[in-house]
Subunit: 150 residues, 2 copies
Amino acid sequence: MPKIDLDQVEPTNRTTYPMPFAAEMGRRHFRRLGAAGGLKDIGVSHVVLEPGGISSQRHWHEGIDEFVVVVDGEAVLVEDDGETVMRAGDCALFPKDVANGHHLVNRSARNCTFIAVDGRVSEGDCHYPDVDLHWDNSNGRYTHKDGTPY
Amino acid sequence: MPKIDLDQVEPTNRTTYPMPFAAEMGRRHFRRLGAAGGLKDIGVSHVVLEPGGISSQRHWHEGIDEFVVVVDGEAVLVEDDGETVMRAGDCALFPKDVANGHHLVNRSARNCTFIAVDGRVSEGDCHYPDVDLHWDNSNGRYTHKDGTPY
C-alpha cells in the first residue's frame, strides 16, 4: 500500500550527535518514511517538533539537496539571512554545497509537524556554523572543528 | 532565501502528453519548486488540483522514486490495490521499478494542494497501465504501447 500508515512506523528521538549537542534533540521525533516505504534515492522523514524543539543543530551539507514542507503548526526557520516563520504549506529548499546553515525551531505552544526530504546521491561533509561540530564524511564520524574526534 | 515565496513561482498546467491524454490535464497546476530553488538531485513540485483534476495519467516509473504529501484539501489515490482517500498530512511513497500504477484524483468540491518529490538519479521508461501510452526514455519520447511514436 503506497499510502503510509504513520501509526505503523515507530517514531524515535535518537540522534548520533555527541554530547552536549545530543541533549538538545529530545523534543524532535521522527519517522523514516523513505526507508519504511522502500525508497532508495530520496530520504523522507516525518518530523514532529515539540514546543522548544529543534530540527537539528544549524547545519549545511556538502552533496545533499534538502527540502522541507510544514504540514501542521508552525516553526521558525533560522538561517544566515535571519529568521522566517513557516506555517502549514510553506516550503523551503536548501541546495547542496550552499554554505547557509539552517534549522527549524519550534517557539510556539504546540507541536509542529513537517516533512524533510533529502537526496541520496553524493553525501559529503556537514558544517555546523554555531557549534564546535563537524561531520567528517570520509571517516564517517563527528569531529571538533579542528578535526579531532569526539 | 531558502523559504519559497510561492507567488514568485509561476504556476503552469502544461503537459507533454500527446492528445487525447493531454486534454485531461487542464485542472492540474504545478510549480517546479526544486528547479526554482536550485536543487539538482531531487525534483519538488507544488501542485494544485482543481475539482475533477488528475495529477497525471496513472503511471509507474522505472528508475524514479516518488513521494507525495497532501498539504490541503483531499484527493483519492488510485493504484493497483484500489483507492485511498488522502487528506492533509497524509503521505504516500512509490519506489522506483515497482509496477503499481498510481495517480491522484480530486473528486472533492474544492482544490487539493500536494507536494510531489522525485529522485533525479536514474530515470527510465514510464508505464501507463490504463491508456495506450508509454514513455520511451532511451529515445526521449512518448509512444503507443506497441512502440510507434505519437
